[in-house]
């Protein structure tokens, strides 16, 4: 039992990959390094897939790419409303990043989303996006007025939501990935072969993609809530 606990503790620890020797040493966590790998993968893929785009005769890859982007645009339009255009690329970026981060455990790397700092950063970005958009499209007064909707009585709850929404986003993503990770570790501890591979399909693939969808969906929904009826 103690051995299991030790193993779990070790696996759950956020290792520091290396330290940049400036300003008294800035630690660079594993998660950041894996994030760079994820970024590199997406950047290379983006460059490779969009190299020869043709308006008149799209190939098979281009058709799939266009379908995906059109789906993203449609989703953004449905959820965010008339100002969807500037938000779709960000939502797409977050979806791609979280998606690959959640799945990268399959390739033996630690998923960055297992580090609570990463999900906190994502939540902070969502917070800035949600309330930035609310003030950007409603004006300062209109944005403040949004906090008193649908009725002034709910003002404290709406103000609490400012903190709760990103907290919930952060914890949901982190908790799901860590939960799946712990369960996978336990199973590996009990049955080292075959069974973990099968269950990894559910916990890594399915749950990872679902959490990606949920994060993006909630961010878009909260953003749209603030600006849907803004001119």
């Amino acid at each position: 039992m103690e051995a299991l606990k030790e193993a779990l503790m070790g696996a759950l620890e956020n290792h520091v990959a290396f330290t940049i020797p400036v300003l008294g040493g800035i630690p660079v966590a594993d998660a950041v390094v894996v994030t760079w790998i994820v970024m590199a993968v997406w950047m290379i893929l983006a460059l490779a897939l969009t190299r020869r785009l043709s308006v008149r005769s799209p190939g098979r890859v281009q058709t799939a790419l266009e379908a995906a982007v059109a789906f993203l645009n449609g989703f953004a339009r449905d959820t965010i409303g008339p100002h969807w255009r500037s938000f779709a690329p960000y939502l797409g970026t977050v979806a791609l990043y979280i998606g690959l981060s959640n799945l990268i455990g399959i390739f033996g790397l630690t998923p960055p989303t297992k580090d609570i700092s990463v999900t906190a950063a994502l939540a902070v970005m969502s917070l800035v996006l949600i309330y930035g958009a609310q003030f950007r499209y409603n004006g300062l007064l209109g944005g403040l007025k949004k906090f008193a909707e649908p009725m002034p009585l709910l003002l404290p709850i709406n103000l609490m939501e400012v903190a709760i929404r990103p907290m919930a986003l952060c914890m949901r993503l982190f908790g799901n990935i860590v939960g799946a990770f712990i369960i996978m570790e336990l199973i590996k501890f009990l049955v080292p072969a075959v069974v973990p591979a099968v269950l990894s399909i559910y916990f890594d693939l399915f749950d990872g993609l679902i959490q990606m969808a949920v994060f993006v969906f909630l961010t878009a929904l909260f953003t749209g809530e603030g600006i849907k009826d803004a001119a």
Partner: protein, 72 residues
């Protein structure tokens, strides 16, 4: 075995509520889709959102349990 472990076990009980909630939501969504198959897309996205929110409570319980175990 400390009191912290028991507390962690209690915290994880939030999963019961989340499970029941998600079950009810999914059941109702199935009924709704059976009644109106053409609205399946909208129902699905609403279900996803509801499940995510319901699941949130379970996740919070789970994280509380983690805090109990590893920090308590």
């Amino acid at each position: 075995m400390t009191v912290g472990m028991i507390a962690a076990g209690l915290a994880v009980m939030t999963g019961i509520g989340a499970g029941i909630g998600i079950g009810i939501a999914t059941g109702k969504a199935s009924e709704a889709i059976a009644r109106q198959p053409e609205a399946a897309g909208k129902i699905n996205s609403t279900l996803l959102l509801g499940c995510a929110l319901a699941e949130g409570t379970a996740i919070f319980g789970f994280i509380t349990a983690l805090i109990m175990i590893f920090m308590g």
